[in-house]
Symmetry: C2
Subunit: 112 residues, 2 copies
DNA sequence: CAGGTAAGTTTTGTTTTGGAACTATGGCAA
DNA sequence: TTGCCATAGTTCCAAAACAAAACTTACCTG
Protein backbone atom coordinates (compact mmCIF):
# COMPACT_ATOMS: atom_id res chain seq x y z
CA UNK A 1 0.00 0.00 0.00
CA UNK A 2 1.20 3.49 -0.79
CA UNK A 3 1.01 6.11 1.90
CA UNK A 4 -0.76 8.57 -0.36
CA UNK A 5 -3.65 6.08 -0.40
CA UNK A 6 -4.19 7.11 3.20
CA UNK A 7 -5.92 10.30 2.05
CA UNK A 8 -9.20 8.39 1.86
CA UNK A 9 -8.68 6.38 5.04
CA UNK A 10 -11.49 6.16 7.61
CA UNK A 11 -9.10 7.50 10.25
CA UNK A 12 -8.50 11.25 10.40
CA UNK A 13 -5.00 10.71 11.76
CA UNK A 14 -4.16 8.64 8.69
CA UNK A 15 -5.65 11.24 6.37
CA UNK A 16 -3.55 13.95 8.01
CA UNK A 17 -0.45 11.81 7.64
CA UNK A 18 -1.16 11.32 3.96
CA UNK A 19 -0.20 14.98 3.58
CA UNK A 20 2.32 15.73 6.33
CA UNK A 21 3.41 12.27 7.47
CA UNK A 22 6.83 12.11 5.91
CA UNK A 23 10.35 12.91 6.95
CA UNK A 24 10.50 16.52 5.82
CA UNK A 25 7.12 18.11 5.35
CA UNK A 26 6.55 19.08 8.96
CA UNK A 27 10.01 20.59 9.03
CA UNK A 28 9.10 22.87 6.15
CA UNK A 29 6.00 23.91 8.02
CA UNK A 30 8.01 24.55 11.15
CA UNK A 31 10.16 26.91 9.09
CA UNK A 32 7.06 28.66 7.81
CA UNK A 33 5.90 29.22 11.37
CA UNK A 34 9.35 30.64 12.11
CA UNK A 35 8.83 33.16 9.35
CA UNK A 36 10.79 31.62 6.49
CA UNK A 37 9.21 31.62 3.07
CA UNK A 38 11.81 31.11 0.34
CA UNK A 39 13.28 28.11 -1.36
CA UNK A 40 16.86 28.70 -0.35
CA UNK A 41 15.86 29.59 3.19
CA UNK A 42 14.16 26.23 3.60
CA UNK A 43 17.22 24.53 2.14
CA UNK A 44 19.55 26.19 4.55
CA UNK A 45 17.34 25.77 7.57
CA UNK A 46 16.32 22.16 7.18
CA UNK A 47 19.21 20.43 5.45
CA UNK A 48 17.04 18.62 2.94
CA UNK A 49 17.99 18.43 -0.74
CA UNK A 50 16.61 20.84 -3.36
CA UNK A 51 15.07 17.91 -5.15
CA UNK A 52 12.99 16.84 -2.18
CA UNK A 53 12.13 20.36 -1.13
CA UNK A 54 10.73 21.15 -4.58
CA UNK A 55 8.62 18.02 -4.46
CA UNK A 56 7.29 18.70 -0.97
CA UNK A 57 6.47 22.31 -1.71
CA UNK A 58 4.49 21.17 -4.73
CA UNK A 59 2.52 18.75 -2.58
CA UNK A 60 1.88 21.32 0.11
CA UNK A 61 0.61 23.84 -2.40
CA UNK A 62 -1.59 21.17 -3.97
CA UNK A 63 -2.95 20.30 -0.55
CA UNK A 64 -3.81 23.91 0.10
CA UNK A 65 -1.47 24.18 3.06
CA UNK A 66 0.96 26.62 1.46
CA UNK A 67 0.41 29.24 -1.18
CA UNK A 68 3.03 30.14 -3.79
CA UNK A 69 3.14 33.86 -4.33
CA UNK A 70 5.37 35.77 -6.69
CA UNK A 71 7.08 38.54 -4.77
CA UNK A 72 8.98 39.76 -7.82
CA UNK A 73 8.67 39.37 -11.53
CA UNK A 74 11.65 39.97 -13.75
CA UNK A 75 13.14 37.81 -12.49
CA UNK A 76 10.16 35.91 -11.15
CA UNK A 77 10.67 34.81 -7.54
CA UNK A 78 8.36 33.14 -5.08
CA UNK A 79 7.33 33.16 -1.45
CA UNK A 80 5.67 30.17 0.15
CA UNK A 81 3.21 31.24 2.80
CA UNK A 82 0.85 29.34 5.06
CA UNK A 83 -2.82 29.36 4.10
CA UNK A 84 -5.46 29.38 6.79
CA UNK A 85 -5.58 25.62 6.59
CA UNK A 86 -1.83 25.60 7.04
CA UNK A 87 -2.00 27.92 10.03
CA UNK A 88 -4.30 25.42 11.67
CA UNK A 89 -1.44 22.97 11.90
CA UNK A 90 0.14 25.14 14.55
CA UNK A 91 -1.26 23.11 17.47
CA UNK A 92 0.15 19.93 15.97
CA UNK A 93 3.59 21.47 15.62
CA UNK A 94 3.38 22.68 19.20
CA UNK A 95 2.50 19.30 20.65
CA UNK A 96 5.37 17.71 18.74
CA UNK A 97 7.69 20.44 19.99
CA UNK A 98 6.59 19.92 23.57
CA UNK A 99 7.08 16.18 23.37
CA UNK A 100 10.53 16.65 21.90
CA UNK A 101 11.54 19.13 24.57
CA UNK A 102 10.57 16.74 27.29
CA UNK A 103 11.47 13.40 25.78
CA UNK A 104 14.29 14.04 23.35
CA UNK A 105 16.74 16.23 25.21
CA UNK A 106 19.89 17.09 23.31
CA UNK A 107 22.78 15.03 24.50
CA UNK A 108 25.77 17.20 25.12
CA UNK A 109 29.35 16.30 25.89
CA UNK A 110 28.97 16.10 29.66
CA UNK A 111 31.92 15.85 32.00
CA UNK A 112 35.14 14.16 30.99
CA UNK B 1 21.36 14.56 5.27
CA UNK B 2 19.67 11.54 6.75
CA UNK B 3 16.57 12.05 8.82
CA UNK B 4 17.94 10.05 11.74
CA UNK B 5 20.55 12.79 12.08
CA UNK B 6 17.71 14.98 13.29
CA UNK B 7 17.83 13.35 16.72
CA UNK B 8 20.52 15.84 17.73
CA UNK B 9 18.96 18.85 16.03
CA UNK B 10 18.61 22.11 17.97
CA UNK B 11 14.88 22.11 17.23
CA UNK B 12 12.63 19.96 19.40
CA UNK B 13 10.20 19.46 16.53
CA UNK B 14 13.01 18.01 14.43
CA UNK B 15 14.11 15.76 17.27
CA UNK B 16 10.59 14.44 17.67
CA UNK B 17 10.37 13.80 13.94
CA UNK B 18 13.61 11.84 14.05
CA UNK B 19 11.60 9.19 15.88
CA UNK B 20 8.02 9.47 14.66
CA UNK B 21 8.34 11.54 11.50
CA UNK B 22 7.87 8.88 8.87
CA UNK B 23 5.00 7.46 6.92
CA UNK B 24 4.00 4.67 9.29
CA UNK B 25 5.22 5.17 12.82
CA UNK B 26 2.42 7.43 13.98
CA UNK B 27 -0.07 4.98 12.55
CA UNK B 28 1.35 2.24 14.73
CA UNK B 29 1.01 4.53 17.72
CA UNK B 30 -2.55 5.37 16.78
CA UNK B 31 -3.27 1.64 16.84
CA UNK B 32 -1.67 1.36 20.26
CA UNK B 33 -3.95 4.09 21.56
CA UNK B 34 -6.87 2.16 20.07
CA UNK B 35 -5.86 -0.83 22.17
CA UNK B 36 -4.00 -2.95 19.64
CA UNK B 37 -0.75 -4.53 20.70
CA UNK B 38 0.18 -7.44 18.45
CA UNK B 39 2.14 -7.78 15.26
CA UNK B 40 -0.64 -9.15 13.12
CA UNK B 41 -3.13 -6.67 14.52
CA UNK B 42 -0.94 -3.79 13.40
CA UNK B 43 -0.56 -5.40 9.99
CA UNK B 44 -4.27 -5.78 9.53
CA UNK B 45 -5.15 -2.36 10.86
CA UNK B 46 -2.60 -0.22 9.07
CA UNK B 47 -1.93 -1.96 5.77
CA UNK B 48 1.84 -1.68 6.04
CA UNK B 49 4.12 -4.59 5.17
CA UNK B 50 5.49 -7.00 7.79
CA UNK B 51 8.95 -5.94 6.78
CA UNK B 52 8.39 -2.28 7.62
CA UNK B 53 6.34 -2.99 10.70
CA UNK B 54 9.13 -5.09 12.20
CA UNK B 55 11.60 -2.30 11.52
CA UNK B 56 9.41 0.41 13.00
CA UNK B 57 8.59 -1.59 16.10
CA UNK B 58 12.30 -2.10 16.66
CA UNK B 59 12.89 1.64 16.44
CA UNK B 60 10.02 2.46 18.73
CA UNK B 61 11.22 0.02 21.35
CA UNK B 62 14.75 1.41 21.04
CA UNK B 63 13.37 4.91 21.47
CA UNK B 64 11.55 3.89 24.62
CA UNK B 65 8.14 4.63 23.18
CA UNK B 66 6.91 1.06 23.11
CA UNK B 67 7.81 -1.87 25.29
CA UNK B 68 7.96 -5.44 24.02
CA UNK B 69 6.47 -7.81 26.53
CA UNK B 70 6.15 -11.56 26.24
CA UNK B 71 2.55 -12.53 26.96
CA UNK B 72 3.23 -16.20 26.43
CA UNK B 73 6.28 -18.39 26.36
CA UNK B 74 6.17 -21.72 24.58
CA UNK B 75 5.58 -20.47 22.03
CA UNK B 76 6.98 -17.06 22.86
CA UNK B 77 4.64 -14.27 21.76
CA UNK B 78 4.80 -10.55 22.27
CA UNK B 79 2.69 -7.54 23.05
CA UNK B 80 3.81 -4.04 22.18
CA UNK B 81 2.59 -1.56 24.73
CA UNK B 82 3.04 2.15 25.16
CA UNK B 83 5.51 3.29 27.77
CA UNK B 84 4.83 6.45 29.71
CA UNK B 85 6.88 8.35 27.20
CA UNK B 86 4.74 6.84 24.50
CA UNK B 87 1.53 7.76 26.28
CA UNK B 88 2.69 11.35 26.23
CA UNK B 89 2.33 11.39 22.46
CA UNK B 90 -1.44 11.31 22.90
CA UNK B 91 -1.84 15.09 22.54
CA UNK B 92 0.10 15.02 19.27
CA UNK B 93 -2.09 12.29 17.87
CA UNK B 94 -5.15 14.24 18.93
CA UNK B 95 -4.10 17.45 17.23
CA UNK B 96 -3.37 15.54 14.04
CA UNK B 97 -6.75 13.84 14.29
CA UNK B 98 -8.51 17.16 14.77
CA UNK B 99 -6.78 18.73 11.83
CA UNK B 100 -7.66 15.76 9.64
CA UNK B 101 -11.28 15.82 10.70
CA UNK B 102 -11.58 19.44 9.78
CA UNK B 103 -9.32 19.72 6.78
CA UNK B 104 -9.29 16.29 5.15
CA UNK B 105 -12.91 15.23 4.96
CA UNK B 106 -13.52 11.91 3.27
CA UNK B 107 -14.81 12.40 -0.21
CA UNK B 108 -17.80 10.25 -0.83
CA UNK B 109 -19.67 9.47 -4.01
CA UNK B 110 -22.05 12.40 -3.88
CA UNK B 111 -25.05 12.70 -6.16
CA UNK B 112 -25.16 11.05 -9.54
C1' DC C 1 30.84 39.39 -21.42
C1' DA C 2 31.91 37.34 -16.57
C1' DG C 3 29.96 36.65 -12.19
C1' DG C 4 26.12 36.55 -8.88
C1' DT C 5 21.31 35.38 -7.13
C1' DA C 6 16.94 32.69 -6.79
C1' DA C 7 14.36 28.89 -7.87
C1' DG C 8 14.27 25.16 -9.40
C1' DT C 9 15.54 20.49 -12.69
C1' DT C 10 18.52 16.72 -14.10
C1' DT C 11 21.63 13.05 -13.38
C1' DT C 12 23.65 9.21 -11.03
C1' DG C 13 24.13 6.00 -7.57
C1' DT C 14 22.49 4.36 -3.01
C1' DT C 15 18.59 3.28 0.37
C1' DT C 16 14.18 2.34 1.50
C1' DT C 17 10.02 0.36 0.50
C1' DG C 18 6.36 -2.92 -1.24
C1' DG C 19 4.93 -7.49 -2.01
C1' DA C 20 5.20 -12.06 -1.59
C1' DA C 21 7.25 -16.11 0.02
C1' DC C 22 9.66 -18.36 3.60
C1' DT C 23 11.23 -19.66 8.62
C1' DA C 24 10.75 -20.82 13.52
C1' DT C 25 8.25 -22.49 17.50
C1' DG C 26 4.83 -24.81 19.46
C1' DG C 27 -0.37 -26.22 20.05
C1' DC C 28 -3.84 -29.39 18.71
C1' DA C 29 -5.92 -33.43 16.76
C1' DA C 30 -6.47 -37.34 13.72
C1' DT D 1 4.10 -38.58 14.47
C1' DT D 2 2.35 -36.44 10.65
C1' DG D 3 -0.22 -32.62 9.12
C1' DC D 4 -2.37 -28.14 9.82
C1' DC D 5 -2.89 -23.78 12.25
C1' DA D 6 -1.29 -19.52 14.68
C1' DT D 7 2.03 -15.79 15.86
C1' DA D 8 5.99 -13.27 14.98
C1' DG D 9 8.87 -12.34 12.39
C1' DT D 10 12.99 -12.72 8.16
C1' DT D 11 14.49 -13.07 3.37
C1' DC D 12 14.39 -12.01 -1.46
C1' DC D 13 13.70 -9.17 -5.41
C1' DA D 14 12.02 -5.34 -8.08
C1' DA D 15 10.34 -0.67 -7.84
C1' DA D 16 10.24 3.74 -5.82
C1' DA D 17 12.27 7.31 -3.06
C1' DC D 18 16.20 9.67 -1.72
C1' DA D 19 21.01 12.19 -1.39
C1' DA D 20 24.46 14.75 -3.49
C1' DA D 21 26.10 17.40 -6.84
C1' DA D 22 25.91 19.52 -11.21
C1' DC D 23 23.20 21.93 -14.44
C1' DT D 24 19.44 25.35 -16.16
C1' DT D 25 16.78 29.57 -16.60
C1' DA D 26 16.05 34.36 -16.04
C1' DC D 27 17.59 38.46 -14.81
C1' DC D 28 20.85 42.04 -12.67
C1' DT D 29 25.46 44.21 -11.91
C1' DG D 30 29.94 45.67 -13.16
Amino acid sequence: MKWTDLSENWCPVARTLSVVGDRWTLLILRDCFLGLSRFDQFIESSGMTRHILAERLRRLVEAGILERKAYSKAPVRYDYVLTERGQELAPALMTLRDWGKKNMPVRRATSG
